[in-house]
Symmetry: C2
Subunit: 305 residues, 2 copies
């Protein structure tokens, strides 16, 4: 037990972004063992989403590479050298040509001899605005009967910070798959003034059925903000069977849009006024008892960061 000095922050006020009502497009795509085919397919689905009116587009976890440990290094790209990174280059080009913002799911990232499970964010001018490295890696302990052992940290290094990015479509927090299991991450995004938390993810069949929707609805309800998730389709290649069921949830826990397990472009309307109504109707934030407990975000730099 150590005594640490921490700064007690209040939540950042919700800013009004450039656009408060818009369509989000969720690309639940099929991942194959061919990287170039995955890039081509992702581009087509982003275009399809944009044609249906989406101006913010979300891709799944590991969309350019099957979730197979032996493939990560081969499919990985260097985020500091986009011109040599075909997946990132495509995202930059398509964001710019369509004028959309892309929360780019995740791909394997290589950096200084390490591999990360990383989400790139591109703005409508094609600029890489941010990246989120998966913080909470999916490391199983002792498998239950019928479960298959899985230890992501054998091959992937963990991210070391939360990621919020200011876009034309609001302040967006990012978590990748197992990151959703930790209420603390969504709490930190809410306290940092996020309107929306995006979770690219690839839950398996057992945790998918029991937890995928539950955790999304919970993070939305407990923090009174929007949550969007994007999974690969079930027929994707990889080391395990994927649940699918990409979903968009509103700040009262309502499912705005969801889909099954097949390849699909899901379009949902988002209206940030609903966040305001929800919080005015039930001001959970002001009802927290900071005399009893406090949530401390050690990496938040200032009350408005």
């Amino acid at each position: 037990m150590a005594t640490v000095a921490v700064q007690s922050f209040v939540s950042a006020p919700l800013q009004v972004p450039k656009v408060t009502q818009f369509k989000i497009g969720i690309c639940q795509l099929k991942v194959t063992t061919e990287k170039s085919a995955n890039i081509f397919n992702a581009r087509s689905m982003i275009q399809a989403a944009a044609e249906q009116g989406a101006s913010l587009i979300l891709l799944p976890e590991m969309w350019n590479c099957p979730y197979s440990t032996d493939l990560f290094a081969k499919f990985a790209e260097d985020f500091s050298d986009i011109d040599s990174a075909p997946s990132l280059l495509m995202l930059s080009e398509v964001a710019s040509s369509l004028g959309v913002t892309i929360i780019g799911g995740s791909i394997p990232e290589k950096d200084a001899g390490q591999l990360y499970n990383s989400c790139p964010v591109f703005g409508p001018n094609g600029e890489l605005k941010a990246k989120h490295r998966k913080i909470h890696l999916f490391d199983m302990g002792k498998p239950l009967p019928g479960e298959v052992q899985f230890k992501e940290s054998d091959n992937i290094s963990a991210g070391e910070k939360p990621t919020v990015v200011d876009t034309d479509f609001g302040r967006i927090g990012i978590g990748i798959c197992h990151d959703i299991r930790f209420p603390e991450l969504a709490m930190s995004y809410s306290a940092r003034g996020a309107h929306l938390v995006c979770y690219p993810g690839a839950f398996n069949m057992s945790t998918g059925a029991t937890l995928w929707e539950l955790e999304q609805r919970t993070r939305a309800v407990d923090n009174q903000l929007y949550v969007a998730s994007c999974s690969p389709s079930r027929d994707s290649a990889g080391s395990y069977m994927i649940w699918g069921h990409s979903t968009v949830v509103g700040p009262m826990g309502e499912i705005i849009a969801t889909t099954g397990h097949e390849e699909a472009v899901l379009i949902a309307e988002i209206d940030y006024a609903v966040i305001q109504w929800t919080r005015e109707s039930l001001p959970l934030e002001s009802q927290k008892h900071n005399d009893i407990y406090q949530f401390v975000d050690l990496l938040r730099e200032s009350p408005n960061s």
Copy 2:
């Protein structure tokens, strides 16, 4: 923004209680405007639960008094004078005569001119082991269209501390109704080594349908422990219509037992070995990133309290 010094705690290890496998009985009872009838009915349902093998018994929020602000003072009892408190006296007597432990839902408590919404806990020797005063009062802000204004703090004072109580049936944390909306309270119970969190509650028809089950499953899953809830039945007297649907949830979010909206005694099997398996299978606690965020329990006295 203030800088506060806090103690960084690790979670208390899970102790092995006297009994690790047992039946819990949930008394979803009908509350009437007659206090003596409510006491008689509660006693009958506790007895029915015990006859079905329950050794830990949970009652609903405000079981001796309709949820009507004008009745709280009239129905309130003084927890420091049990001999003059007919509801508490019945619980003490029936706990002792049946040899059961009772998490006594809640009743209005009067103390020094204030009213509280308080849960008494009685051990099998009839002793009042603990009480929990509802911490998070249900104060609506600006009602949404169709919603009725509701401000619990107009009539009730808030509790000032979390409550964990060691019983023969494990370490039990208690939250009352709106307390469930705050992940922090369940997190503090988990960190204090609770096996089970009991939520007496009386959600209304709208939040009941959308949030009651969701929040219970979430608190169980995120903290890998058992959650049990107990509501009055829908045909109870009071100022609003009650959702019902008392439920018991296991540490993987699985619904072990639930019921509809009518008066019912719900019996569920609890086995604390499942907590251990769940945590061994997926050690969420050790995967938390305390270098990024920390949950601070300001009132926890020591790492093992």
